[in-house]
């Protein structure tokens, strides 16, 4: 069996990719997908730890995180729709009325 480090490093790479997506992209839907990528990386870490500790707790956490992600998606996409339904261009930088 491979050392846990392999999976963890992979998970870290996926997590970093996700964060970069949030920082770099201007399309809120893609930013949101990047957050899903981050959650996914966390899930991979949980499953890895679970496997190497021979404990099922991590599986439950993944189950819970997936549920949370589903709820977030439902509400998040609702917010995105309610804002961008009326706009032609979907750019997060346009949301800049409030500052300072």
């Amino acid at each position: 069996m491979l050392p846990a480090h392999y999976y963890l490093m992979l998970s870290a790479v996926l997590f970093t990719t996700g964060t970069l997506g949030v920082l770099i992209r201007r399309n809120p839907i893609i930013m949101f997908m990047s957050i899903e990528l981050m959650l996914n990386a966390a899930n991979l870490a949980f499953i890895t730890f679970s496997r190497y500790q021979r404990s099922l707790d991590g599986h439950i956490f993944v189950f819970i995180i997936m549920t949370v992600a589903a709820a977030e998606v439902a509400v998040g996409l609702g917010i995105i729709i309610s804002i961008f339904r009326t706009r032609t261009d979907i750019n997060i930088d346009d949301l800049n009325i409030m500052k300072g």
């Binding site: 964060t19 409030m98 500052k99 300072g100």
Partner: protein, 640 residues
Amino acid sequence: MFTYAWLVPGLPLLGTIINGIFGRFLPRKVVGTLASALVGGSFLVSVAVFIQLLGLPEEERHVTSALYTWISAGNFFAEAGILIDPLSVFMMLVVSGVGFFIHVYSTGYMGHDEGYSRYFTYLNLFAASMLILVMANNFLLLFVGWELVGICSYLLISFWYSRPSAVAAGKKAFITTRVGDLGFTLGVVLIFVAFGTLAYDQVFAAAGEVATGVITAITVLLFIGAIGKSAQIPLYVWLPDAMEGPTPVSALIHAATMVTAGVYLVARASPLYVHAPGVLLIVAFVGAVTALFAATIALVNNDIKRVLAYSTISQIGLMFLGVGVGAFAAGLFHLLTHAFFKALLFLGAGSVMHALAGETDIRNMGGLRGKMQVTYWTFLVAGLAIAGIAPLSGFFSKDEILAAALTAPGGHWLLYALGLAASLLTAFYIFRLFFKAFHGEPRMSAERLERAHESPPSMTVPLVVLAIGAAVAGFVGVPGFLAPEAGWTHAVAHFLEPGLAREPLVEAELPPAIGVMLMLIALAVGIAGIAAAWHFYVRRPGTAARLAQRAPAVYNTLLNKYWVDEAYNALFVRPGKALAAFFWRGIDAAVVDGFVNGVARAVAGLSLLVRRTETGYLRNYALAIFAGAVVLVGYLISTR
């Protein structure tokens, strides 16, 4: 009676609540009477406490009564408790007594003001706060009173909100004194750090066991607080502006509350100060220099209230001189006499202004003597008292301070000289004021002169009562060498000393020869000042103007208050303004000027700079979060 001592701040507080909530619906008479009666009640309770305290043997005159445990958490403990000892009872009597007369006077003075009930709400709260301040048995409760006094002064100074200058002055007072409060807060915290408690008894009992450096730091920090509240150099700038408030408020601030808080603080903490002789020397010098400095400004100012304001700064400086050389009782004695004659001066000035429809410029007065007899004579009493003419009250207290400045172990001839010079100038400027206002040709319009009249009894009665006080209050502190056999010499000092630090600074009784000589010098100086004023303003009214022509530089320097405001402007305000203007969209018109202004602008500029980090871009915010995460994790894994 001691168990009812809480009524002393409690009664005015009750007045605040009643007038604050129902005042608008009550008739004016009820509001004013209620407010005055409650403060009068607290004066009566103070007297009763005083009498009971006198009945106790000297060493038992130290009673604490805890109302309830206020804060108790872990090793941090504070009571809502009252300390009754000579010092606090002394202050209670001064505050509630003088406060009572000012309340009564206000019922007349403010009679036509639309904010009548609001005024008395604040005034009662002011008295209550000051009473809390002086009656607290620990530094935390003292701090509460300290802050409340600051708020009340702010509310009252900016009472006439419709004048922008009043609003600015209130803000200036609040913010300047908060600079001092910073020192005070740090001092209180340091006390807790060093002693593990904030209760006076425990702190003072352990004062000798704490390292000198710590005591020095604590006393310096407390003194910074005192400087702010008591308007000493360099934080005095707010007090002259505070004249924007109603005149009785000025009287209250100057005579009984607020500015005396700093003197009280140093006296209260005297067991700490005696362990820091170097700091006491600083206190003395700050006091002496302020006394002289403010007196010189008062020489040439033409606004009756401002002259009195600088006079207060100067007199408080003398008190600090007294406590600074270790003569705590002498400083407090002067506080007492000053309360009488300064309240009297202010109320007299208010009476004059009342007669002249609010005129404050002494160049537009004159010849009022015949118009207002009561005001004239009472003002004269006050003037003689502050000038130090025997046997009025100021003579004894001032003499005691000056004598201590020269002869006490902590004294210095330079301090004495400064104090003496200040006395000379004091006598001069107060009689300049007096002569210009009441003597000579009337310089106001004929119509005004026609209308000028004596004030109503609610104003003149307090004047008379205070005049009697200003005249005779000095006899509670007659020095021992004048009447060696009598048991009543140094009454104030003997009463107060159990509450103050005794060793090692209490001066021995002076040899009569030296004592009398010092007295005569002080008296001569006072008479010289009055004579000079008489010469300049009554005998040859043009002299001062000629002098101004001959030495314009000196005269203008004084007239412009040494250009302190201007120097502050150049040093702090301009750079601050430049910075602020660089970012700021519109400049806030109501911001205070001077030193405070500079600091405020600098902070505001910094604020605008930091504000720019809030770009409004969501992605920037995410970047900040992420950067924070990277730095945080990086730091944490590096601690391994």
